[in-house]
Amino acid sequence: MNWIEEVIQRKRRFAVFPMVCADHCAYLLNINFAKVATSGEKLAEVLEYGYRLYKYDMVLVFSDPYIEAEAMGCKIEFAPYPRLVSCTKDFQSRIRKKSGLETTPAKVLRGSDKRPKHNRIKEILKAVRILKRNIEAPIFVSIKGPFSLACFIGGMERFLKLLLEDNMQAQNVVESALDFQLQYLDMLLDLDVNIMIGDPMVSTSVISPALFKEFAFEPLKVLITKIRKSHLIAGIHICGEVRQIINELDNLHADILSIEDITLKTKTLKMGGVSTNTILNGSVKDIRNEIENTLSQDHLILSTSCDVPVKTPSNNIKRMIKIAREIFDN
């Protein structure tokens, strides 16, 4: 049993993982990030480098949030960092027909769907296989929550307005996103890998608790149930305000809840504790203070509240891990 599993089962008090992703590792290695984002080998290489450098307790396979959106027809540009240029073109015509978006990961992998220029799902799977061979720590793959994926494929502003203007059409887009994610999940679970669902658009910094319950809760529940049935670890990461939906998040019965405010009471194991600004700009004292503030948690995966910014000083990450191990091991 690894440290993450031990903390989840409350057999150990803490584990540590500053949310280091591929962009920061590529920056340290001075590798063009576009190459990392489009190659499974490169992605695995930089993530393994980060793991060996910092010696944290898990690895997160995450290059950018647009892997699935791109596979569903969104246009992505890769330089200097991946960014969503446009949403899925046929979104409007398809939702009018209420037929959803029919792209599936299987179609993308078979190459029968010509839309994605970069078949990056294949690259993610490749990176996972390499990392599983080379790394002893538990590996998590970041996938998008269906609601956030719906925002990407529908166009953020347009989709958010649709939630209030046309309930059925909005549901239709979320269902298309969920169908896609369920199939992608099958491929990942076949590789025996843990999952971290990133769903940034469901926080109450964006939508109301009522809309969360109507559009986001159930699709998340479906994914989490599927992951847990496979006896793999299911985590959720949400940036932004979650106080008003914390009970619902707790009731998803995920194994890990990665949120900004870890003082919120939950039954689910929390992940977080150090703000991204502190890891980027803070002093050793700032980092120590934030870690000490987490001591009231009985069990915790000490982490940053969101992914570590690209140009975060390497020493700050090392210090965070060192201080955490000193404090929690005593």
């Binding site: 200097p80 307005k161 109450t204 700009n281 910014p309």
Partner: protein, 212 residues
Amino acid sequence: MEYSLIKRAVVDFEEKKVKELVKEFLDKGAFPNEILEQGLIPGMKEVGRLFAIKEYYVPEVLLASEAFYAGFELIKPLLVQTDVARKGKIVIGVVQGDIHDIGKNIVKVMLESSGFEIVDLGKDVPNEKFIESVIQQKPQVLALSSLMTTTMLQMETIIKLLYKKKLRKNIKVIIGGAPVNQEYANKIGADGYAEDATGAVKLVERLLGVNS
């Protein structure tokens, strides 16, 4: 004139109704500035209040903004003709490499509905374009938005460019967006940070010393 009807229609994000009411009031001889100040602006102020107390969220604000603009676009040309005084000019945009502009759009509508003149540069704006716009438009405030940790670093670069071009002392720079905070604003030498759109309005009014 019952300007409260326009206010209510904005708050209820009834775009079509706002348009009809504004046309009807103009036909009846209402002054465009009265429609703005007693109908549209109070509507968006109420939306801002509801957003601040978490009764409204981003989708509600987006729809209310559309309703506001439906009316505002009708009276805007008439306002220019009557030379209505604005509280100040603001250049706003999302920094280079970042295409997330919902937050910027909400801040824009709240500032515009609070009486400021807005020059919206859009999203993914090259640093040089911000500088050009400051030179050409001569705004009192430059508002920068970013939603990503990879792009927030551009804010510091833009402030450095303002110093380099000797433009910094004549302009206030404010920042906003998920990955930034007051601490980051202090670090990069911005004049202020606002957590949300209503905060941005208060911040600009404070920086420029104008009343709400």
